[in-house]
């Protein structure tokens, strides 16, 4: 089962839009795939290389704005932006890394947070270039969600495959050694700045593409959406830590959980409270339904506190701990 898990999952994902025609569910899975791309990027930089970044939104946003600005100023199809977003995000890692990689630990976290906020504020203030808070509107190419689905799926698979390849290569071991002890890694002759940069580049490239795909898919961006600290940078962190820091499939599970929790709250437990309210006709339940639908951030907050306290390595990292708690104890020989 363990061996075939990824193949079965891939098969399900490949046939999913053909089986489920409902565009709402298709949208949800597209969001999961997008978060797999972003969350895995964060995980490569933070989980494997130990650089906990609060600035993932910089690369997502720059990807989205690459696409959007090309369309806005030169009327070039935003799809060309998808091709350009990756290289531009990588180009941006040069100043980003130059500033942030000389700092460690919590300082690194703070400076990436500050850089992310600077980008958001610049995008808001520089109205002649970005349109400021008005945002950028582009025409979406397809009405159906299926083409977008397969594009996101392709990039997500690329992300998983490239992460797996990198982690099992020499680079992966360099990354891990930097995470475990940067000074020791340096003293063994590993150019830590270079490999942190490599990790950031790999992380930023596909995250930038995800940003460009986002504007093609949604048709609209503004600085508060794509450069958002809470909705992008911190969400990426949550995807990483809920799923499992430093595991390949952690962000996949994390993305699924986060999108599920988000929708769970947004729809008021899938319409449960609204249903009760309309059945009983009580005003109280209507109010509760309204509050619950706005409470997804509260859900995230409680989830992150719970996960850090009890599952510090995330759902995937602590999977054994969960199964040991939930399932009745079996003989050691019974577990294969």
């Amino acid at each position: 089962m363990k061996k075939h898990g990824p193949i079965i999952l891939l098969f399900i994902l490949l046939i999913f839009p053909l089986v489920v025609q409902n565009s709402y569910y298709q949208h949800l899975v597209i969001m999961v795939l997008m978060w797999v791309i972003i969350g895995s990027g964060w995980n490569l930089l933070a989980g494997y290389t130990g650089q906990v970044s609060f600035g993932e939104a910089v690369f997502f946003g720059i990807g989205a704005y690459t696409s959007g600005l090309l369309f806005k100023h030169f009327a070039i199809s935003p799809w060309w932006g998808v091709l350009l977003a990756g290289p531009i995000a990588v180009l941006l890692t040069l100043p980003f890394g130059w500033i942030s990689f000389r700092l460690r630990g919590a300082y690194f976290a703070l400076v990436t947070l500050a850089l992310g906020e600077v980008f958001r504020l610049v995008a808001i203030v520089w109205e002649s270039l970005t349109g400021g808070m008005v945002g950028i509107l582009v025409d979406t190419t397809f009405v159906s969600k299926v083409p977008y689905y397969y594009i996101f799926l392709f990039i997500a698979l690329l992300r998983i495959a490239s992460t797996t390849a990198v982690i099992n290569s020499k680079w992966g071991y360099y990354f891990l050694s930097i995470r475990e002890d940067q000074d020791a890694a340096e003293s063994l002759g590993i150019n830590t700045v270079k490999y942190k940069m490599v990790s950031l580049n790999l992380s930023a490239f596909l995250t930038g593409i995800a940003g460009a795909l986002y504007i093609n898919y949604m048709g609209f961006i503004d600085p508060e959406v794509v450069f958002s600290l809470h909705d992008i940078s911190i969400m990426a962190i949550l995807v990483g830590i809920v799923g499992g820091v430093g595991t390949i499939y952690g962000p996949v599970v994390g993305a699924f959980i986060m999108v599920a929790v988000h929708e769970f709250f947004r729809t008021g437990f899938f319409g449960l409270f609204k249903g009760i309210a309309s059945l009983t006709g009580s005003d109280f339940m209507t109010t509760v339904a309204k509050y619950v639908s706005e409470a997804h951030v509260l859900g995230f907050g409680v989830l992150v506190i719970f996960v850090i306290m009890f599952l510090p390595n995330g759902v995937v990292g602590d999977w054994k701990k969960i199964t040991a708690k939930l399932l009745p104890k079996r003989d050691k020989g019974g577990i294969s």
Partner: protein, 291 residues
């Protein structure tokens, strides 16, 4: 010249309040070695307490300091005791777990405030909210001047506490060398709990003092958390004197930025100063003052 002086005065007055926010943060950072990204959110809680007292019972914001500070002291101690201290024993890959935890706490606090008070902007109008007096051609906001002097009072009190009392000395000892302090018989767990409480109540004081001149909404915490860590890094980690300089510097930078560059840039200026300080004077002002 008048504009310049006016901006200078506004910056220094605002800086006094920022120092109070920064001292709370720097104490927590010094003793626990973590960055409390829920600091602004704690301030937001104190502001809502003040707002509730004023709108339901008509209590003056300055009197409600007596309520908001103890409540936040208890809240801070509870957070440290039941969430942060147990976390120290949790084994995980990333040592930054505690920072991430404070992010989670901040989110929960913000959303609870949104639940109770909704997202609408609130403000407390007092008789002195818009009052001003003039010295020469320069106008002073009465509420801001009062806030500035109360903030200075708290800062002086804090220094006396840190320098002269037993608990204060234990806090400084723990900040300097946790293990050595432990060997000298300091109960470092208790000290961390008390420190978090004190840090929270100082930021609560800042929040309550801001209420008569500021507006209030649940997301106000985020920007103030950012200001708090900018101040702390400016001043140098764990340095209380540095936090005062950092607060005043940020206050001045923001008010000069707003006057001479543009209102929209006031948040950005703080962050850019922050990045420049980290790059060029990584120890902050602590390098110059040595305290």
């Amino acid at each position: 010249m008048e504009v310049f002086l006016q901006t200078l005065v506004a910056g220094i007055l605002k800086g006094g309040l920022y120092s109070l926010i920064g001292i709370g943060m720097t104490l927590i950072m010094g003793v626990m070695g973590i960055i409390n990204l829920a600091h602004g959110q704690l301030m937001m809680v104190a502001m809502y307490i003040t707002f509730a007292l004023s709108s339901f019972f008509g209590i003056d914001p300055y009197i409600s300091l007596l309520v908001s500070m103890p409540s936040l002291f208890i809240l801070g101690m509870a957070i440290q005791k039941y969430i942060m201290n147990p976390l120290m024993e949790v084994d995980s890959i990333l040592p930054e777990n505690q920072v991430l935890m404070t992010v989670g706490i901040g989110m929960v606090l913000t959303e609870i405030a949104r639940f109770i008070f909704s997202s609408n902007y609130k403000s407390v109008q007092t008789s002195y909210s818009n009052a001003t007096f003039f010295l020469g051609a320069i106008s002073f906001s009465v509420a801001l001047v009062i806030a500035f002097f109360i903030a200075i009072g708290f800062t002086v009190l804090m220094f006396w506490f840190l320098l002269k009392t037993d608990i204060g000395r234990s806090i400084r000892a723990t900040a300097q060398d946790r293990d050595a302090a432990l060997l000298m018989g300091v109960n470092s767990k208790k000290i961390t709990i008390i420190t978090f409480g004190i840090g929270s109540s100082l930021v609560a004081a800042a929040g309550t003092l801001l209420i008569p001149i500021y507006y209030l909404f649940p997301d106000i915490g985020g920007p103030f958390t950012r200001k708090a860590f900018v101040i702390t890094i400016l001043g140098g980690l764990g340095s209380t004197v540095g936090a005062i300089f950092g607060g005043i510097t940020l206050g001045l930078a923001e008010s000069f930025g707003a006057t001479y560059i543009g209102m929209a840039y006031d948040d950005m200026i703080g962050l850019i100063i922050f990045i420049l300080v980290l790059l060029f004077i990584p120890g902050g002002f602590k390098r110059f003052t040595k305290i």
